[in-house]
Symmetry: C4
Subunit: 269 residues, 4 copies
């Protein structure tokens, strides 16, 4: 009998005598009065969704810009995304500092987030991942391009960040300081995503729903593009206008996917 | 403790003292007296089955022609298929209108269904999906052909709909009006399925079981055909007579798969 | 609240007050006194294992030769393997007849089993499946050969049955009569498995554990061989002596896999 | 109603009246005073994690060097990894002997572990597996190289063990005696992993967490390298310095993955 099942049963017995709301997740999906509290809860949700959708494994992270202070962002301490709880979310500043004590381990690559928030005022949420389908594109430089409308946001192309050059030839592959973060942000430019050679990718959005949506469908497009390339025939990608118009339409449908993904992670609790 | 688990336990305690039937699903699988009520329940079931079988993700939809009025069809409001409940199913007319109020969001692509029902009196159910294995065929135009008997209904071939041409060069990729719906229906012709370049597919049937069966095995055939092509040797597809005879036989076995798929989605409740 | 969960909870409450054994599965795994009863229970188990291991979906079947009468075999009525219960298992004779009434639907392809039991006295169990990884080999005729020791039983090669020829050019792809069953058995010869072009495969064993083991690892070898061929380098397959010696050793380890597979299907009840 | 669910419910009722700790797993994750007891518990955990992560199926094994005696190691008796319990873990010496009675079946390939522990004093844990993505590399000799930083420990290359030569041309493919174990250990040399042609792989580590981490990410790198090769463009692998620096950094992050993997196997109990 695991703790998890015990909690279910004990909780159920108590809940029978009560009509009070139950989980952090349930509360997170209600309209929150406090934007900061909502953002904190959304960081937890986004971590769980990205793990459930296979975008992250034990590694990878997601952040939200602090709605009350554009020079700060909310992100978990260094831990597996699937295990993040509200108590693990810390406020980081754009130099990568937090108010947590010296015993709290932070993500070594928090400078990815800090420097993109600094360079891109339009970005309100950031995902960093090692999605399996993206690594082969990052390792070969084969151009990732949208072959179906769910991934139309990739229309402007996806640059590839080469850390070897940015680190002057000496690197452990991690974006572990502000200089490397700035170089990555420069490589990203105005794009929605950037691949990282030998490493993974970064995907950004105007809110956390869009960043997560883009992460899921960047991964899916890479998988489908690999399969289409294997068929050995010419691929017709979305042209620039198709991609632009499609992205505008899709942005209105992101809540449909988000509602599903939230429900899925709730069902696992 | 999630709401879902709470519902299980509370329900169980009440049910112990009762012998009344329980879920909408259980009722749906019993012979219903009222064909309209049965069709409503089948729309819900088909949505859940298509999600469970990986044919749809957060997007895609399925409809059934109203058994009481051939100029109407039943389909959910705009939402993820996996989350559809009986309360979400709306009656649509062949112009894409419903009696739902202005605050209810409808699928933008309901004209896929409306115009196919108008053009094809034999069609009683329609699936629209973005099945991963179909996108590469839609993007390359490589002909999808049956390489095993479960997909023999593909014998007459699968046309590819090019929305760029139908929309006179300006499109967000969606079949968002009656004209585009008519063009898609024309492309489908008398076939059981049509691929949509840069988008997905539409699969039709003489009832909802057949439409869902065909959607599952169109997806499977595409996956297996990709793998067979990768082996680099000549593929022997079913010939026209094999496909025709096999399809006739298979139509008698669809209830075997349907019974399994219904059971699987019930087990998840 | 589904029936399945209700059954769990009601059952649990009753079981607390009882120490009696519970499921058919639990009984099946105990040493049974009666070989016939054990074979009946093993047919159910094998169906559930093959579904759980992805060898069969809604279609496919498995049989065991009747330990009390070599001219009879035990197999379910026509239904999805995952749903088979002890009450669904029927005794068939080698002409494909059962004592079930006319309303009981039998598998159209029961002649696969009947004619192989007739032709191969050493065979005590038979699996028929549409394993996804086998279809591409069946459709191309690319030779399936063992590239790792778990599949060493494939050393003597895997023939491909061409039903078009056996049916004199007119076929619905199914082995639906004794003549086609005899032709398939002839194609199988003394091999452990035969692929069926445009259809699937048949795998046999000296007992049900071996037949199921071979079905799982035939499927796995096909998947791995496809992947190895995609690497574009020469593949070193097991040579004839390696395959023979390896198979002898592996036959002693089949109970290790069987114990695991039984446990997995029990956990899902 | 299965035994497993019955155990949950009965356990829950008892647990409500108790605050005592519950599972072996929960105890295993607490800091154990006794290193030997902790190693015993870690053998169980590692078996369950490797099964959950798809590194092993019904076959494969994992061992830990006895912290109290470097000439001994802890490993389960011959059984499926997923089913191993503390009562199944036996102390083996470097000749492959245990104190278990003659009725206890041991892994035929325990000499893999014995001879590597003898040859490599730095190795404290060993995984043997048939990971699907590794078999194609073992069968072709295509060089496995790190294409992303999680697999940077593969930088020094992965040798391939050819048992045919080591066994003088007569083999059942198993490392079933000390001589073959010594030949395998020689092939491994100072590397973190060795592929076994026609069989699988062995991965070693300075502790069980590192050995399991390396097994998971060797498998993942093979899958991603296959996909990258299929894209048909030049792959940029991590260079020697990148691999070395990355590995040093990653070694500090292994506990993050381990914590997640432990949680996942606990949730399944």
């Amino acid at each position: 009998m695991s703790n998890r099942h015990l909690r279910y049963l004990v909780g159920a017995m108590l809940a029978v005598a009560s009509t009070a709301p139950t989980t952090a997740h349930a509360q997170a999906s209600k309209p929150a009065e406090d934007p900061h509290a909502k953002a904190m809860a959304d960081v937890v949700l986004a971590n769980h969704i990205l793990a459930d959708q296979g975008v992250v494994d034990g590694f990878g992270h997601v952040s939200i810009r602090d709605p009350a202070d554009p020079n700060k962002f909310l992100m978990a301490r260094s831990m597996a995304p699937e295990l993040v709880t509200p108590a693990d979310v810390l406020e980081h500043d754009l130099d990568g500092n937090t108010t947590a004590g010296p015993n709290v381990k932070l993500y070594l690559e928090r400078f990815i987030h800090a420097e993109i928030y600094r360079a891109r005022p339009d970005v309100m949420a950031i995902v960093h991942c090692h999605s399996p389908s993206l690594i082969p594109f990052a390792a070969t430089g084969v151009a990732l391009k949208p072959l179906y409308h769910m991934s139309s946001f990739l229309g402007p192309g996806v640059p590839v960040f080469e850390i070897h050059k940015a680190a002057n030839g000496s690197t452990d592959m991690l974006v572990r300081n502000p200089e490397l973060g700035k170089a990555l942000a420069k490589s990203l430019g105005a794009h929605p995503a950037v691949l990282m050679r030998g490493h993974g990718a970064v995907i950004v959005g105007k809110d956390v729903q869009q960043a997560v949506f883009r992460a899921v469908y960047t991964q899916m497009n890479a998988q489908l593009q690999s399969q289409a390339m294997a068929l050995g025939a010419k691929i017709t990608y979305l042209d620039a206008e198709e991609a632009k118009k499609s992205e505008e339409t899709n942005n209105g449908n992101i809540p449909r996917a988000w509602e599903l993904w939230v429900r899925k992670v709730k069902q696992q609790k």
